[in-house]
């Protein structure tokens, strides 16, 4: 599966199928700091991601002055 990451923008490829939580552990990304999106929809932690899926892992942490 193709995984697009943001902040900074990059793409990685992983073997599927794999659970969302397992994917985040593999990439060493804390769940609290991202959303996992497939086809414009949120994917919960226990969902399985297929080998042909295109996934976005979107960082939700913003900083600076507001």
């Amino acid at each position: 599966m193709i995984i697009q990451l943001r902040n900074p923008q990059r793409t990685v490829e992983m073997e599927g199928p794999m659970a969302v939580t397992a994917l985040l552990v593999r990439l060493d990304i804390p769940r609290e700091s991202v959303l996992v999106i497939r086809d414009g929809t949120l994917v919960p932690g226990d969902a399985m991601l297929g080998r042909d899926d295109s996934i976005e892992i979107r960082s939700v942490i913003s900083g600076g002055a507001r």
Partner: protein
């Protein structure tokens, strides 16, 4: 995973509440949490007019959306910071949101209206960019709220923001800042009432709210904020939250319940507030910090600006 409310398929987990939600009930959860924050902290009354500080990011667009949904009259103010590769894009998201809903959005542009940008201001004033940015935003949002006669200025600060700021202030024991770290600051001395309706929601929830509501927002981080201390504090807290869900909530609301009052300055410690001799903004000095920043950056007040002395006098909680 099943939705806590309807037992249908869930799309998101909120571990802090030990709950999963489907899209519909998650959006309701967000609105309920904002309504609860407004009620508990006496942020707004029915019929209040609100100015929302809009950045084009998830939090400011979500808080604007939810305030409207709850029935408040809310306009937006976007501040163009003059940051290449970031400001034009974030302005586009702010404008698109307002236009799609027929909302009123005022746009103030630092380079064209005030003759400086954040990068030059940071360099000239020897501040970090986020400090120059924060000073500019506080001044211009306050000014616009007063000029427009709004009852309150709403910002998109969420639980993660507040917990991270608290964490930093406690690490350095910044008593003055701890005294101001409330979800609502009462209007007075020429400053508008400031409210943070998202304090009961984390930033993962706000991003999810936008995705599920179809709100397009600026996902890319401000290039000047990358690697700053605030983000470092958030990462540290998220690492703890991962192992112990609810920690950020307990930290921030525990502070409000048990310690915040210790840091509120007494009447004797409050500095006298007058009007800046250049722009009329409230300040404890002859010239306000924003006008000093303008001077050092080679900027200027808008040509049609006039120094209007602030109306002094403090409004009490009974005015809320």
């Amino acid at each position: 995973m099943k939705c806590r409310v309807c037992r249908g398929p869930a799309v998101i987990d909120v571990r802090r509440h030990n709950a999963n939600f489907c899209g519909e009930h998650f959006l309701r959860h967000c609105r309920d949490q904002v309504a609860k924050a407004i009620r508990r902290h006496q942020m707004l009354q029915e019929g209040d007019r609100v100015l929302v500080a809009v950045s084009g990011g998830k939090d400011s667009l979500a808080v604007w959306d939810i305030l409207l949904d709850l029935g408040y009259e809310a306009d937006g103010l976007y501040l163009g910071l003059g940051i290449d590769g970031y400001s034009p894009e974030s302005e586009r998201f702010a404008r698109a949101f307002a236009e799609s809903r027929g909302l009123s959005l005022e746009v103030v542009d630092l380079p064209s209206d005030y003759g400086y940008d954040i990068r030059s201001a940071a360099r000239a004033s020897k501040r970090v960019p986020c400090s120059a940015c924060g000073l500019s935003k506080r001044h211009l949002f306050d000014e616009a709220a007063g000029r427009g006669g709004y009852d309150a200025l709403a910002t998109g600060h969420n639980l993660d923001d507040e917990a991270a700021v608290l964490f930093g202030n406690v690490l350095q024991w910044q008593g003055e800042y701890l005294g101001r770290q409330q979800p609502v600051l009462i209007a007075g001395d020429g400053f508008p009432r400031k409210i943070k309706p998202l304090v009961r929601l984390g930033e993962r929830e706000m991003a999810a709210y936008c995705v599920l509501s179809g709100i397009d927002y600026m996902v890319e981080e401000c290039p000047m904020a990358v690697g700053n201390k605030h983000i470092g504090y958030k990462e540290a807290l998220n690492s703890i939250e991962e192992r112990s869900p609810g920690t950020k909530h307990a930290f921030y609301f525990g502070f409000l319940d048990r310690a915040a009052d210790l840091f509120v300055p007494s009447a004797d410690d409050r500095i006298a507030i007058g009007a800046c001799t250049r722009c009329g903004a409230p300040t404890g000095a002859e010239v306000c910090a924003f006008c000093h920043l303008l001077e050092r950056s080679g900027g200027h007040l808008p040509e049609d600006a006039q120094a209007v002395p602030v109306k002094l006098g403090r409004r009490g909680p009974e005015d809320l």
